[in-house]
């Protein structure tokens, strides 16, 4: 009887145990052992569950804490400059005039341009790896290469950009007849585009692989070509996943600092074209934080961080709305 009631799941109830105790007085030790094990299992379950809840709470507290710190630290600047901070066009630490507009513009311009450049590549890679060649050494090699792109530290991209990409862009700019700075919005968007490809590509590949083969086979059996299957079955089925990947890429592009700083030209003049030098919020913070020698200056830089935080939140919220709309259809 005792042998038969093995503890195969946690549904063992107290009555089982007491039955066991009554039924076999001979082996109370075994029963006690089993009860002990049972309690230990329950305890483990509880501890594990609590640990999970705790980790979740810590994450929430962290994010709220960061937001609060940013708000508190940027209060002096909010008080001194007001809402004008957001659309002020001058950033002049000497006269304590701070306007975030050039950097806000720079951040959005570089990120969306980078996204526009990278999306065709990442979607193409996702379809290639997810649909055309899911197995084999060439796709494996491509997959690993794409993932490696995400693992390379950003300062290396910056260095490569400055040494290789900028001279190429400069000669290109000379040919099309704009000021041949080499560095600027365009160069940083190119660098960013390379850096963010893996995020959309990896996620895209996994969602494309998850398309039920029944759907695809049905389409083929109706006489659809491969292109038609991709267009009418795979893309509609996976669009929320693809979009989520693109959103992930955008998030990365918005916050990227080091590589951008090295190739954007770092000027607080509002860029007149995409070939002009500019600056982004993240790179201004990285550049000026250590030597910010006045309380308002420091606070204005932290407010820049707050604005960046909010921009990221807003873009994520819009993205979430779009994804849920896609999914509901």
């Amino acid at each position: 009887m005792i042998e038969s009631t093995t503890i195969e799941n946690n549904s063992l109830t107290l009555s089982d145990v007491s039955l066991g105790v009554i039924g076999s007085v001979k082996t109370p030790a075994k029963v006690r052992q089993r009860v002990k094990r049972l309690y230990r299992q329950i305890r483990t379950e509880n501890v594990f569950k609590r640990a999970l809840v705790l980790m979740g709470l810590i994450m929430i507290v962290l994010v709220i804490g960061i937001l609060l710190t940013l708000i508190v630290e940027s209060l002096p600047s909010i008080k001194a400059l007001g809402a004008k901070y957001l659309w002020g066009r001058t950033w002049d630490p000497v006269q304590d005039i701070y306007g975030a507009y050039p950097f806000l513009l720079g951040t959005l311009l570089t990120s969306f341009l980078a996204l526009a450049i990278s999306v065709p590549f990442s979607i193409a890679i996702a379809i290639f790896l997810g649909e055309y060649f899911p197995k084999g050494w060439i796709p494996d090699f491509l997959k690993n290469t794409v993932e490696l792109i995400a693992a390379v530290p950003s300062v290396i991209y910056g260095f490569w950009g400055l040494a290789v990409l900028v001279p190429i862009v400069r000669s290109f700019e000379t040919k099309i007849g704009v000021d041949p700075y080499g560095v600027g919005i365009f160069s940083s968007s190119l660098i960013l585009a390379v850096m963010i490809i893996p995020y959309a590509a990896s996620l895209g590949r996994s969602v494309i692989q998850m398309v039920p083969s029944a759907l695809k086979e049905a389409a083929y059996s109706l006489g659809a070509t491969r292109w038609e299957v991709i267009k009418h079955v795979i893309i509609p089925y996976t669009k929320s996943g693809l979009f989520a990947g693109i959103l992930l890429s955008l998030g990365r592009a918005l916050g990227e600092t080091m590589a951008v700083t090295m190739v954007i030209g770092n000027t607080s003049i509002i860029p007149k074209s995409i070939f002009a030098p500019g600056n982004t919020m993240a790179s201004v913070i990285a550049n000026e934080f250590t030597e910010a020698d006045k309380p308002v200056y420091l606070s204005a830089l932290i407010e820049l961080g707050l604005v960046l935080f909010l921009v990221t939140v807003v873009i994520n919220m819009i993205g979430r709305r779009v994804i849920s709309r896609f999914t509901n259809e």
């Binding site: 090295m262 770092n266 000027t267 550049n287 030597e291």
Partner: protein
């Protein structure tokens, strides 16, 4: 082994000496107080400093030399002048280091008077990329200011040609390169431009970060140098030491006396050989010295005048003052090899007087 023994004997000797000094200074009544201070201030054989990244290579050398002879460890964090000052303000370091004297707002943020001790001098040079120009370019203050204001835009401008007679200047566009990160180098350079050009001081002003009217920003000396090297027709400012170490071409600049001076360690030391005010807070830019390079400046170590604060021991204060005294005297021999300008005699004298004014509990520390 013998050497080690000697070292530890020395350390013990210093310890005994300093303990006796402490008890002399405070009297016997402060025994428990002393115990307090050692526990909170941590290890008294290690001082902590933070600030200027310009000073960092020099300080590394100096402090390691000092450690060899005196066994005192100095932990210097190269975090930037501004951050160094705020760490001193928060009393988390024994000394700060800055390429610019503390400004009014920083002064009002600290709770007690701070002493500025000049420790070395540096210069900012104008490096350029004109592959076809073989002679050293000459610049005068007004041309320099107009270039950085974006008013002179071509290299063959008549104003540049007038001071570079016989040099064939190309018609390329001038590309200005400046620092994108806040830095003491920018501060020295913009202070100089503010002094020599009314236009500059009205529209841009001076500071470690300013609103540059034109040009490309590069991060650090290497960022500016990279922009200059890559862009034909570029001109930008970098530290003298960096320019020498990287064999970059740099211009002669006309000083106040009217001489065109090649930046060098000697001409920077010469720039500092002027009357220095008692608090040493002087900008050497646009120096009166006839053979001095005009775009140079001191770098200072900052300490509290009253060294008795937040449970510091008198031993710690003495060690700090002795270290600084060594830095401005014997330590200066190490500057030249690292392309830092040694202090001028006038600066050493002033530094000495300032160090002697430091007190512990109202009593002078150095005799």
């Amino acid at each position: 082994m013998n050497f080690l023994n000697l070292k530890s004997t020395l350390a013990i000797g210093i310890l005994i000496a300093s303990v006796s000094f402490t008890s002399c200074g405070n009297g016997g009544a402060s025994a428990d107080k002393k115990a307090d201070s050692t526990s909170s201030a941590g290890n008294d054989d290690a001082l902590i400093g933070a600030g200027s990244s310009f000073d960092n290579p020099l300080f590394s050398k100096l402090f390691s030399e000092y450690n060899k002879t005196n066994g005192l460890k100095v932990n210097y964090q190269s975090v930037g002048s501004g951050a160094g000052i705020s760490q001193l303000t928060n009393k988390t370091v024994d000394f700060g280091a800055s390429d610019a004297p503390m400004n009014g707002k920083q002064d009002s943020a600290v709770s007690a008077p701070v002493l500025h001790i000049p420790v070395t001098a540096g210069a900012v040079v104008l490096s350029y990329n004109l592959p076809d120009v073989k002679d050293t370019l000459k610049l005068n203050p007004s041309v320099l200011a107009e270039m950085f204001l974006g008013k002179i835009t071509k290299w063959d401008d008549a104003k540049i040609a007038a001071i570079n007679k016989g040099v064939k200047l190309p018609s390329t566009t001038i590309v200005i390169a400046h620092r994108s990160d806040g830095s003491g180098t920018s501060n020295i350079f913009t202070t100089y431009l503010s002094k020599v050009s009314d236009d500059w001081s009205k529209t841009v002003g001076k500071g470690s970060s300013v609103n540059w009217p034109v040009g490309l920003g590069g991060k650090g000396n290497e960022g500016v140098a990279g922009t200059i090297k890559q862009t034909p027709g570029a001109i930008g400012y970098i530290e003298l030491a960096y320019a020498i170490q990287n064999n970059m071409a740099y211009a002669k600049v006309q000083n106040k006396a009217g001489n065109f001076i090649t930046p060098s360690i000697a001409s920077v030391t010469a720039a500092a050989n002027v009357t220095i005010p008692a608090d040493s807070k002087i900008s050497l830019t646009n120096t009166e010295a006839a053979d001095g390079y005009p775009i140079s400046g001191f770098s200072w170590v900052l300490i509290y005048k009253e060294q008795k604060y937040s449970d510091r021991s008198s031993d710690r204060a003495t060690k700090l003052l002795k270290l600084l005294s060594w830095v401005i005297h014997d330590g200066q021999q190490f500057s030249g090899a690292l392309n830092y300008a040694p202090l001028s005699p006038a600066a050493v004298t002033t530094g000495d007087a300032i160090l002697k004014s430091a007190t512990f509990d109202g009593k002078p520390i150095l005799q």
